[in-house]
Symmetry: D2
Subunit: 146 residues, 4 copies
Amino acid sequence: MALSGFDDVDIDLPALRALLESDTFAAWVRALGLQLNHALPGEVELALPVTPQHVHGGGMLCGQSMMAAADTAMALAICTLTDGYRPMTTVQLQTSFLRPIAGDAGSARVTARVLRKGRNLVFGEIEVADPKGALAAHATTTYALL
Amino acid sequence: MALSGFDDVDIDLPALRALLESDTFAAWVRALGLQLNHALPGEVELALPVTPQHVHGGGMLCGQSMMAAADTAMALAICTLTDGYRPMTTVQLQTSFLRPIAGDAGSARVTARVLRKGRNLVFGEIEVADPKGALAAHATTTYALL
Amino acid sequence: MALSGFDDVDIDLPALRALLESDTFAAWVRALGLQLNHALPGEVELALPVTPQHVHGGGMLCGQSMMAAADTAMALAICTLTDGYRPMTTVQLQTSFLRPIAGDAGSARVTARVLRKGRNLVFGEIEVADPKGALAAHATTTYALL
Amino acid sequence: MALSGFDDVDIDLPALRALLESDTFAAWVRALGLQLNHALPGEVELALPVTPQHVHGGGMLCGQSMMAAADTAMALAICTLTDGYRPMTTVQLQTSFLRPIAGDAGSARVTARVLRKGRNLVFGEIEVADPKGALAAHATTTYALL
């Protein structure tokens, strides 16, 4: 499905990067070390470094880190459409785990996309891809704008 | 819905506590500081301390911590039925966020319950309650036994 | 989790039954033949007759019928709290299928429960049980009040 | 995310059409009148006629029909990869409803796509678009191959 017609929005990358490092996000979430690769209106791509702190005993990136990255990425994607941060809350987030990401893989790629922005609700999807581009996790979410 | 008929299972609380602190879980997940309150066959209750590291700029426990705690709790609940840890993976986890938990609330209570354990798949639900017992997050999940 | 404190609501069973048979629901949905067993504030229990029309080639009640019944039951459960029908829309519905229901089982039982009713959003869960009471499908949902 | 590397699969459209009209699907599901527009390896597009039977009192295509069509479409999409019908069951289906489809809209378009086919589990997503191509419902699902 093509992107949703948000083309007239200006993206302020430095402001998004500052937001990602601000206390808008809990310190424990910032410890994910997410990096903003690029942004379009209604879409962001983040790098999620696969570090030992996030690898479970089976040697793979833990699913908890992928869910946390997905939620964080969607908040940023929404901010590309709201002229800076605006109070919002996650209503629900559903994540499917398709394949594992090895603990020595380098960085995962997290792409969040707004599928529809209504007045109160925003719908989106997030893909977490391994370094070779294979889909590792796929999430759909609803946010409420407060 | 009544519990699922796992009554003949013996619970080894010290083993479950050791598991929760082992590297079965990634270090970043262990930093949640989850504590096992009690366990029944197919069910565990954990305490999730609400500490500043997990509070976002709006002053509330962040949703990412609740999702991570939910996933971790379900893994433990499954282990009450598998005679110790057995390789497993989360297939999907859907979380709804019903109400916020204040950043100074103390501890949230995370209850994970196995709804059905098949040969390959396990279905469960998780409730995150605020210190007064109100439902803050509600998750359903599918795990695959490997 | 205990029920949600809606005890002061009066239930008008005949009105709910009339609603279930009205064109509030599409004719194809009414063809499910759902029957209202009873209702409490924030909760309804429906019977879903397992008839040949709803049985797939594998001899089991089809999942599509369970999802449709779940969605319909939740709309009714919300109506127990809104003093009659009020415009609303399903935001999302997540259904897990735990075990099949045999095509000659008689009637399934569909229980929908409001977990939280906010100003704009309502959260709920729905259980579909087979005639022996075993959980066959488990759904969680968000509705928006319009 | 690009399609999943199923390019070497031959598609037998007449067989898929016959399957869609067979009693593999319950009669009540066949009453949706779904038509197979086209198929690729791992992907099908169906037309869902918006007829009065499927329109609720608010004048819109009911969500129950969209969920049922989504589930059915995914079963077909999987069959493009399994050399004809193979026993399978829906593990879970999560549907988000982004915008309504008017009851006089003509036909909705239902596109189901396999995101990953493992040995036992298949992951997919389904989009329901209104006649103008706007996304009306978005679903993700897990199937188990039996």
